[in-house]
Amino acid sequence: MSEAILRVEGLRKVFGQAVAVEEVSFSLPRAGALAVVGESGSGKTTVARMIVGLDRPTAGRVTACGRDRSQPARSARERRRRGGEVQIVFQDPYASLDPRQSPAAAVEEVLRLHTRLDRGRRRARVAELADLVGLDERQMAARPARLSGGQRQRVAIARALAAEPRILILDECVAALDVSIQAQVLNVLSEVRERTGVAYLFISHDLAVVRQVTDDVIVMRHGSVVERGPTGQVLDAPEHPYTRLLRASVPGPGWRPTRRITQQAKQAKETR
């Protein structure tokens, strides 16, 4: 795909003896949304950290906006440029904001660093971003402690968008939110993508949320990609046994939880 905004090729990460990520390749088109699905230990967050530059790949290439970012940035300027290309929003909205900084100041700080807007324009842009994620003026002036989890997560998204990234990595960004707030944030994400053309790498374990937000999906297990394809297709007709297991583990109408690994234990009990 020539219009890929993000391309990952043969990515590998080894921590000591443990292989966390093995031969992971994918590409994310402009304004696209790609889900990375997997359980704990699947390597999905490590992939995200390597793309942002928080971890250095053992092998493989990460290309964002046509530029290689597999090696650490050599200058502050280069780091800032990379920051302007890829931003990340983490799961815990309580841990990712400075408790003494108002949301407006947090967003303004990013604008000062990443744009050449003057003071007045920056203020206008803060208001625009607040509007985009659905926060009012009072909330933007409040301390994070006074905001709910959903509001904080919207601040984190607004702050990430302030750098005008082409790629936004969302790492389990709605997992900690209440159902009704989660729906609000998911709608915000859909609107933001439509209006700004930012591409999403959406890391999640929640298949229903993935269906709502993404176009394509890769399924990871033990550091490798086991299945990939359009989200609807993969979820409706999963081919890999692991994807099927994931799909079958989601509670829904008529769902009955089943024992898997423990079948042996049960048999042992019955034969005793």
């Binding site: 359980e39 709608n187 994931l246 009955r256 024992r259 234990a265």
Partner: protein, 336 residues
């Protein structure tokens, strides 16, 4: 005390008009308001709600694990006995008969004691089971919850076990004391989906085998529907609706339940936009005087602000909404 909603005498747990206020920021604030809920012997009841809805506080009230300084009104009867009157050994006995499994097992297990110590402590303290016999029982119980190699596990420490394994150890510990009622507070929320399915299967199976009743607290309506006979939906410290789980999920009576169901994305199709409710979930002390959901409800009328609706019977369940009958009728007639 007579019960306006039925005359079943087999109720194991009967919570009636429970109101709890906790000292927060220098004054007492209501966190539960007039909660009434029953759990029959062997019955699984789901308690569903968002943060601050009071679902965990309800469970904690049952075993008297509320924070210090809590003011409590109303009554909680367990097997006919008034929980508030229990003292000393009787209270310890209650907690043994009604064990609780929490969301984060790591926060509720002593990290410097072995799994074996943890599992056999209650047995040795309560029933004076000899050490070796206690260990035998612990190993058998671990096997039942799907933990193989129990003898080795008994010698291990909590940090050596994964979250899924540790939660199974917690369930084993809860079942070892031969309880009547299990309080499960989001026991699978911190687990991976495939592990969740397995832990739920184990809970469900062992519960049915033993005729054990369960109060299952979760934020996940669909999970509650899958494993519970009835589900109660809480909002702002109040019970909004109680019904058979499948009915509640498919044809919610209360606008709040309907909003919860609509907000959750669907695994089978993508919605153009998710149906959202403005605002955020409220705590009991923040809720308005009338219906606590009135400020966010799409079906609100003036009378919703005027009076606070109590639970009343409708369509085989109970609902706390003044417009429930009309809305129920409207939904029965398909819209064009």
């Amino acid at each position: 005390m007579s019960n306006p909603f039925g005359n079943r005498t087999s109720d194991l747990l009967d919570i009636s008009g429970l109101t709890v206020a906790l000292p927060l920021g220098g004054r007492h604030r209501t966190v539960l308001s007039d909660v009434s809920l029953r759990v029959g012997a062997g019955e699984a009841v789901g308690l569903v709600g968002e943060s601050g809805s009071g679902k965990s506080m309800t469970a904690r009230s049952i075993v008297r694990l509320l924070p210090a300084g809590a003011h409590t009104e109303g009554s909680i009867r367990l097997g006919g006995a008034d929980v508030a009157a229990l003292r000393g050994p009787a209270l310890r006995d209650l907690r043994r008969r009604v064990p609780m499994v929490f969301q984060d097992p790591r926060a509720h297990i002593n990290p410097v004691r072995t799994i074996g110590d943890f599992l056999t402590e209650a047995l040795r303290a309560h029933s004076r089971t000899p050490r070796r016999a206690g260990q035998e029982r612990a190993v058998r119980m671990l096997e039942e919850v799907g933990v193989a190699d129990g003898r080795r596990r008994l010698r291990q420490y909590p940090h050596e076990l994964s979250g899924g394994l540790l939660q199974r150890v917690m369930i084993a510990a809860a079942l070892l004391t031969e309880p009547h009622l299990l309080l499960a507070d989001e026991p699978t929320t911190a687990l991976d989906v495939t592990t969740q399915a397995e832990v739920m299967a184990i809970l469900d199976e062992l519960r049915r085998e033993r005729g054990l009743a369960m109060l299952f607290i979760t934020h996940d309506l669909e999970l509650a529907a899958a494993v519970c006979d009835r589900t109660a939906v809480m909002y702002a410290g109040r019970v909004m609706e109680v019904r058979a789980s499948d009915l509640l999920h498919q044809h919610p009576l209360h606008p709040y339940t309907a909003a919860l169901t609509a907000a959750r994305p669907c695994l089978d199709r993508r919605a153009e936009r998710l149906v959202t409710t403005a605002g955020r979930p409220l705590s009991a002390f923040e809720a308005p005087d009338g219906c606590p959901f009135a400020t966010r409800c799409a079906h609100v009328r003036q009378r919703c602000h005027d009076t606070r609706p109590g639970l009343r019977p409708l369509a085989g369940g109970q609902v706390a909404c003044v417009r429930a009958e009309e809305l129920h009728q409207e939904r029965a007639v398909p819209h064009e």
